[in-house]
Every structure is written in C-alpha cells, then in structure tokens.
Subunit: 254 residues, 4 copies
C-alpha cells in the first residue's frame, strides 16, 4: 500500500450532517465518547480509511481474527430533533508528521463530500490533577459561533490551551478554516494518567445539548475499564520486547 | 537506489503454493524456523528484495565479503503430501513506517503472482516469563479456517494479542485481507529476553502438521546459539559507538 | 494538505527590500525581535505559509479561536532613511529534515520574487552562562560585506560557531549563497536557559544601526515574560500526557 | 531545495581512476585520512553534493563566512606509479534512512561516470578498547580480489564485523555490487571514544601500499586534535540548547 486508501462500504445521502470526531488522545476521551455513541445509537459503518501513515499493525479480535488498523466513518440518520451524524473513530492517529496533515485533509474531503455543516472534534485537556467535576472547554475556528457553543456548557478562559491543540482534533479546525468549514473542539479536563469516563461523560453531556440527542451513559464506565485493561496489557508487552540488536525493530513484534 | 527493487534470479512455476514468512521479530522465532527450513529442506533462492526502507547497511560474511541487506524468497517444490512452498526471510524489517506498508504490499504482490493459496507468518509472543512448554497461538484474517488451524495445535484465548500484531507478520494478514488473500499468523510464546529455539520448535511442529512435512530439528538449537552470539557482539559494538557530535550518526559506523 | 501552501493576502511592490527573519531558536531571540518590530512599527501581514512539514497543530487565541501553525510574512514600507522591509516570523520551524530544506527554499523564493537585496536572519548563540552584556555575533555568506557588517557592532572570533548554524537561520545563508543571494546571520549571546530580552535588545540594536530605524524597546521585556509564561505552561502540559500505549501518540493531545 | 543537487565546478577526464571515500564515522578515521590526502597531495575540488537529506545546517569558517553542509569530490591526477584519484569527503552523512540509499546511489553514479575501477571506503571498527597497534580490517564485495587486498596489510577474521557495516562505507559496497562495481572497505580498529590519528595512520599505510603513493603523515596528529577540539565545543553547545517546548526543535539553534 503506497497511498492512503478510502474504502466505501455503503452509499448514503446525509442531509446537512454534523461530523463528530473521536480519535485517540489524552485520556482517550474522544474515542470513549464516539465509540459509545456508535454502540448505543447503533450507527452504521459506511467507510474505512487505511494508510501507510498509520502504524504498521493489525488489531486482533476476541476470536483471533485480525483487522488492519484504520479510521472508520459511521453514519446515523437523524430525526426531527437531531441532525444526521457522521462519526469518525479509530485506534490510532498518524505515526508520521506529514501523515497527520494528509489524513486531516482526507477527513475534511469526506466531510465536504457530504456537505457537512459543522465538525465537532472531541478530546481531553490534561491537567495533571484528578478532579471530581471535570470542566469542559471549547475552541473553534469560527468566532461567530462562540456564544452558541457556550450555551451548551463548555467554557474557555484566556491562558487555557496555551500549548495549542495537537493532532487531528486541532488540525481539523486549522485546515477546516482554510476550506471555510466550521469546526469546534470540545475537550474534557482530565488528569492524563488514566482513561477517564467521568470526563467523557461531561463531554458527552455538552454534545447531547448541542445536537439534541439523549443517550444512556451507563456503559461508559464499563467501556473505560475495558480499555484500561487493554492498555495495561500493552504496557506489559512492551516491557518484554527484545532490544533492538535482535533484529527486531523497536516496537515490532513480528 | 530510490525505489524498492525486486531482483528475480530464477523463474519457477509453483502450483498452488503456500508462502511461509519468517522475518525478524520477538525471540527471532520466525526467522529461526524459516532459516532452518531453507537449510534442512534445501530450498532454492529465486528472488531478492532490496529497499531504501531497509536499514542502510551490508552484512559481512565469514570470508569478509559483503551483502546488501535484503529480504529473500526461496522456493521448494512439494510432493504428493506437501504443497509447493515459497519462503520469505531476511535480517531486517523496514526501518520506516511507510516502508512497512510498501514492503508488505510487495510480499503480497509476489504471493499473488504465484497464485499463493495461503500465507503463514511466523513470530513470537512475548510474555516476559521463561517457560518450559511454550504455547503456540494463532491469528488469522479468515474466520472460516479457524477450526482447521486449531486442528494443527495452536490456540487462541480472548484477551491474548490485545496489543495487536505489529510489523510484517501482522500487516501481511491485514493488507492480505483487503486483497482477498488468506493468511495465518503462528506465534510461539517466548520470554522475549533471548533467541528461543524451544519456542521455534513448537511453531515448527504446528507448521509441520499444517503442511505435512517432516524436518529434523536437531540444528535448531545450534542455530539459535549462533544468532545469540552475533547479537551479543552487536550489543557490545553499539556500546562503543561515538556519540552523535562526532559527526557519526547515531547508528552509523561508517 | 499534501504540499506546502503559500497564501497571498495582499499584493505589494517593495522596492529593494531587506528581509528580516525571526523564527524560533535558542533563547527565542530572533522571534522576540521580529515580533517586536512587527508590533511597534505596525507592519502588515501579506503572506502566510502552511506546510505538512510544520508540527500538526493549531495555536489557540485568547478568545478560544484557533489558527493553524504557520510562518507569516509582513511588509513595512520604508522611508528615505530605512529600506522597505519584509519580516518573516512563526511559532515553529520544520519538524522534518527535508522540510527544513523545502521551507528555506520557499523563503528564498519569496525573497527573490520581491528582488530582496539582503536577508538578515536573527538568532541566539547558546553559551550556557548568564551574562550582563550579551555580545552580538555575525556570520555571512558574502565575504565582501564583512567590514560593513562589523561597522554595525557585531563581531566574529575564530572558533565561535564551530558547531555551525542549524535550522532556518543557517540554511537561508547556505541555500541563499547557491542562488547568489546575500544573507547575514546576527546572533545574540544567551545562556540558552530562558527567553532572553537583553540579548534580543542587543541584536535589535545592531539591526537598527544596519537599517537606520529607531524603535522603542520598552515592550521587549514584557513580551519576553509573556513567552516565558506560555513555555512554562507547555512544559507542565507535556508532563501530564498519557504514555504512548494509550493510543495517543507521543506529543499528540487530540 | 527539494532534491539532491550535484554541482560540477570543473570538468576532468580521469583515466581508470580509483575513488577513495572518507565520510564521518567511528573515530572519524575515514574523514581524517581523506582530508589529509586532499591537503597533502593538493587535490582539486571538482564537484559538490547538496541534499535535503543532509542535516539542515551551515558550517562557519574562520572568518565568519558560511557554507551549506555538503559532500565534496576532489580529483588528483596520478603518475606512472599511482592511479588518478577521486576523493569523496564531507562533514555529514545522511540524516534520513532513504537519504543514505539515495546518496550512496549518487556516489556510485559519479564513480560510474568517470569509469572508476575500484572504490575504497575508509572507516573505523569500534572495539571499546584503547590499543597501541591498531589492527586494520578489510571487507569487500568481490571475493576475487581478497588475496590482493590482504597483500596490502589488512586482515579479516571470521566473526569480525558481525554487526555489518552501517552507513555509506557499507552501502557503497552493497549497492556497488548490484551495479558490478568493485569496492573495498578498509577499517582501522579504534576505541570509539575519540578521534584516532593512530588508527588513521594505520589505514593510510594500507592505502599507500595499495595505491603506490607516499604521503607525509606528520600533520595527521595535529588534524586529529583540531577535530577533537571542535567536537568538545559542539558537545558543550548541545548541552545549552533550550528544551523543545521553547519552540526550538531539538537540534536546532536558529
């Protein structure tokens, strides 16, 4: 595979859709929220993105079958209250610098193709402190919608996010602006030390207000623990890897 | 050399061949097994792959002659019990992210060219523990063959390989699936601390059942010790390298 | 975004302009000086450079709006004493090796397009020691102008800069020479441990003599402290990032 | 600069030339020898190679003038005893994996263009031990010339160079073989802790026998100390660099 490849499984015709992006990041907040939405609202996979810029690996399912790492697009038809939704998820972001730009451009191409009205990118804001009531922040590439976004709950105080927003959650806003596409980043405060279902819940709450949907959050906690377990295993595995001189490249098991 | 280059030394016409892949990874299990098969069964080198994505180095033979690092394809004609075999080996996997995808694609191109029926990628599963009876795991990109694979001995328990399979062993399964090509990864449990002939033996045992061949495993132990010695030397050599400010790049001796 | 993109906001016709380059480096001296000039002399933004070689992130403004990282070109019309000025600034240099060469080539393309007479690149020279009166050094790709440059104050002693000049400040001189374009690097000695307004002042002083302008330096100190605060926040944020196995890439928050 | 650029300063017509390559490596042996030959035998610069794969920097001369990093080719006309010589030197090897392959290919293009009969690449073999009488090793891509090479002094014992030869010194042999071009690597044993004039002298001695020239080695010691001083300065400078969060990229001063 020499180039990023987009596979389309099903043709859909969303009407004025909103795209929600939950790719891996701090506290895995974004991923937790969007995986949850896809599961609870039974969204349908319509597209998959494979890329030589994603890590060179397959994930392994519960039955021993494999799947090449990818980003996936799901579709959920709206109703009179909620817009049509396009949901972008995945296990990995780009492993290369140029790959980040290329993939974000492809996400925006897909959004544009469906005439997406707005993109919400979800993530975590690492504070280093455990907190009881995680605060939710916003950032946006369109000053005209700030009041509207604030009405859904999130806030922004000068000095926050002074390091910027790194990765897809930020790039989609930055590159989106160059294309005249409106985007908002919703981030839940989180310690940064663990997968954080409480912060995911706070972000989901803001999103529900913004998009007029209701979703049961009971499984969020269980889902977070499941991911926590997987992460612990990955950590243990990485500690058993042969040093580089064995011919095995640093991260590469096989 | 700007592009990956495949050199064909001999034309062969395999009939419904099976490809076995043994590139460097955890415990060097895969490499140990396939190097052993090539030697014991006297397979014939038919192709060589050079690439700017492989590390920029030559290996040095016992007589002081050199060879550019590469991956090699060997061919072994089958009989009424065993299928024709294509064996892929090498001293290194890709040193770049995109290179992994490109090389895996080329391995699949070669498999496709010879109308390969199935690909077995061999590797190690690092557990961090030394064990007396190494367990053998499988993973596959085709759920329909799971029962057949299990009949050869390997097992898979939910929760294993939760970190996925990284490198060629996994990518061949992932990219293979996109091309409709069936592939299975056979991994021997291993501590990850040393080259593991016992684990290689367990993997070879499964492969022998799957492909109906018999091969003497006496040399596996000796072969493992030889590689162990080389690795120790490489480790010592890396500790004597000049720091970067000498103009010498991190890994580069000359 | 697959390629570096230059956006032109306004057409200008500079006459024999001089370009001043202040991209991030040691002590952030160059950036401090040129940001200050742009602000005090009210220069006008005329171009912006986005690139997949820049880090994949957006900066966040005081009101929560975002901006894709970039390099910017400003223009300031001269008068009978001071030449027309083109000022190149930005928050980041290239994150990739080839990107450095590509971006420096684009800076020179822009300089050439406006028939720039000379380019000054500004930076810091790290000494590891705090000093009261920072010394200013020069380097140049044109031996014929050495006496003229010395007359503005900077000096050069054999043995200084023995490690060369790395990044845009140096590459512009090196690649500029291949195009027959004259360039000078002006560096303020600095400890390297903090953002250094005193060193920036010394560099600004040399530049003022060279280009015959006067500028109030009162705000330099305040500007340096502001950047120092942002840097401290970024450091704290980087310490709260999830380890790699969380799926979040090393530097990537979202 | 998007692509590697070769600049030709002077046309020459070597007759059956031999190329000698001294790029930076362990102990800087190769560089020391070839810089010395160029100086003592007054070779003439005929070509220069610039590349986006070389580190993005300029070197600074004793008078404050700069030069873009490069590799250089020098020419020395032979006599009835010594062949025409092409000498390849530089301050840096490639900073990228693919760049190593591309540059080695370009060195071979140049050698081929001049119908070079043989290439000697010079380097160091790190042992971690200081020694009084450094041993000289060889490796070659042509088994037919082994006896001839041994007659000049170097030896090779099985087990040496088990880690291979990394970088240009090895790649030239490996890629050269694919083009039918004969090459030999001559390496002086060295501790790896410092620039080693004694080892350089041993390598130069072998080369003198092979190519029938005599050269005064008095300056080798002085040249080694000069490089040692520069390296110490670079080390000190690297320790004063601002941490990454200052916007200054890891290695980049300006």
């Amino acid at each position: 595979m020499i180039e990023t490849t987009v596979v389309e499984y099903k043709e859909v015709s969303p009407k004025d859709p909103v795209m929600i992006v939950g790719l891996p990041g701090i506290g895995l907040i974004g991923k937790l929220v969007v995986d949850h939405l896809i599961s609870e609202l039974k969204a349908e996979k319509i597209m998959e993105i494979f890329s030589p810029h994603l890590p060179p690996q397959v994930t392994v399912n519960a039955d021993g079958t494999t799947k090449l790492v990818s980003n996936e697009i799901y579709f959920l038809k709206g109703n009179d209250k909620t817009p049509d939704l396009l949901l972008l998820v995945g296990d990995h972001q780009s492993a290369t610098n140029e790959g980040h730009y290329e993939l974000a451009g492809i996400y925006l191409d897909i959004a544009e193709k469906f005439q997406t009205k707005r993109i919400y990118t979800l993530g975590g804001y690492g504070t280093g402190k455990l907190m009881d009531v995680p605060h939710v922040l916003y950032a946006t590439n369109n000053p005209d919608i700030i009041e509207e976004i604030k009405s859904y709950g999130p806030t922004f105080t000068e000095g926050e996010l002074s390091g910027g927003i790194i990765g897809a959650s930020g790039l989609i806003l930055g590159l989106g602006e160059l294309r005249g596409m409106e985007a908002v980043c919703i981030m839940g405060e989180t310690s940064g030390y663990l997968v954080d279902p409480k912060s995911a819940q706070a972000v989901l709450s803001v999103l529900s207000k913004a998009l007029n949907f209701e979703v049961d959050t009971k499984e969020l906690e269980a889902r977070a623990q499941e991911i926590e377990k997987i992460i612990t295993k990955i950590k243990e595995m990485e500690e058993t890897q042969l040093p580089k001189e064995y011919g095995a490249e640093d991260k590469y098991i096989g």
